[in-house]
Symmetry: none
Subunit: 204 residues, 2 copies
DNA sequence: GGAAAAAGTTTCCTATAGGAGACGAAACGT
DNA sequence: ACGTTTCGTCTCCTATAGGAAACTTTTTCC
């Protein structure tokens, strides 16, 4: 077995990678069994060869996109599912959430966003860690708004969450919120240091 | 559960699309242009040949699944796209993730789940904190499985994430994973103390 | 247990996917 | 205009995907 980069801050994106030789076949076989189909039946339904399907399930070939597409329809495999599992899966290693490294980085005057598991493109939720810079605020007006829902979890620091429809909410480590992100919202760090927040966003 | 029409993928109105001959190439070319990449750049980024990409874009070949997958990652193409072509808000505060009070509590031999923001009933994502009890495990077989996607973030402790299709992954505080939860998965704490994990689950 | 049938694997062959590099065609500057 | 560079296509070749059928394994039924 290959060495596992467990020590490093970044288990690489391929930490969990399995040359999808490993995964793809098992998934398809599982899906077929699930439906109680034989090789013959499944292959015919997908209009491919019996032997071809066998090889695919045993990872003895690297099937074409077209073949996979037909199998997906036949076995009623969800697309995201297939890609989530067969792609370099979304493992982002990052020892200690005070530090980050991997992932896309977007910085604004107030926030500092770090996408998690960004190498996984087809996911429906978007997780990221934000550093909220300490600053003074008397009146909040800088609303953020985007269609969907959002979950927020405070990792460190003290902050105030302003929302359009509720009164400001003081939050600390371990506190969490769930809200409709179409509602204007925004955070302000009230501690000396910056605050760290984990966000998981779901677009609608 | 609804029966899925045999012809369609069940993705929605714009879901299904024709024998890809026509459309696949165009989509990829559009996506590449969108990102302002040349054939050379895109091909290199996706680790495929320049000529191969050209042929794909011109529909002169029927690419393998693997090739398409790499291109999707590189061009950040959404899967469904490829295959087809606020009401209520709520806020919950909760101090310190070492203990919680509100929320439903579910305990099993291995896990100890604490739902977050549970008084908000209509949310689509389900966030919860789990305590994973330390224990010895030689062979993992206790798979958890549920349709959807899941994001996991380690708050404290050291644990090993077992998944059906990948090799075990050692994780520590700050590490995160995103995966299809239809794939069997499960955690084992490998530290002395129990491990704490934040999960956000999305049912499909 | 043994024969027959069914399910799955492997072999063999042909068509073609995919990469290297040649070639062509715009788009520079001088 | 002419070279030079840069982007895209085309040609050629090798490795291999995919199907038909032979072969092997498992299941079923007597």
């Amino acid at each position: 077995m290959e060495p596992i980069p467990s020590e490093e801050t970044g288990l690489g994106p391929e930490a969990m990678e399995a040359p999808d030789g490993e995964i793809l076949g098992k998934m398809i076989r599982d899906a077929r069994k699930e439906k109680g189909l034989t090789l013959e039946e499944a292959a015919r339904a997908a209009a491919i060869g019996r032997s071809t399907l066998s090889k695919i399930e045993n990872n003895q070939t690297r099937p074409s996109f077209e073949i996979i597409r037909r199998l997906m329809q036949t076995l009623e495999l969800e697309t995201p599912q297939l890609f989530v599992q067969s792609g370099q899966s979304g493992v982002t290693g990052r020892r200690d959430f005070t530090r980050t490294g991997l992932g896309e980085h977007k910085e604004t005057s107030t926030y500092d966003h770090e996408l998690l598991c960004s190498e996984l493109t087809s996911k429906r939720m978007v997780p990221y860690i934000s550093t909220i810079k300490a600053r003074d605020v008397t009146e909040f007006d800088n609303w953020v708004r985007h269609r969907g829902e959002e979950f927020m979890f405070v990792l460190s620091g003290e902050l105030t969450l302003y929302t359009e429809h509720y009164r400001p909410l003081r939050m600390g480590p371990g506190d969490s919120v769930y809200y409709d992100s179409g509602m204007g919202h925004g955070c302000v760090s009230v501690s000396e240091e910056d605050a760290k927040v984990l966000w998981v966003s779901l677009e609608v």
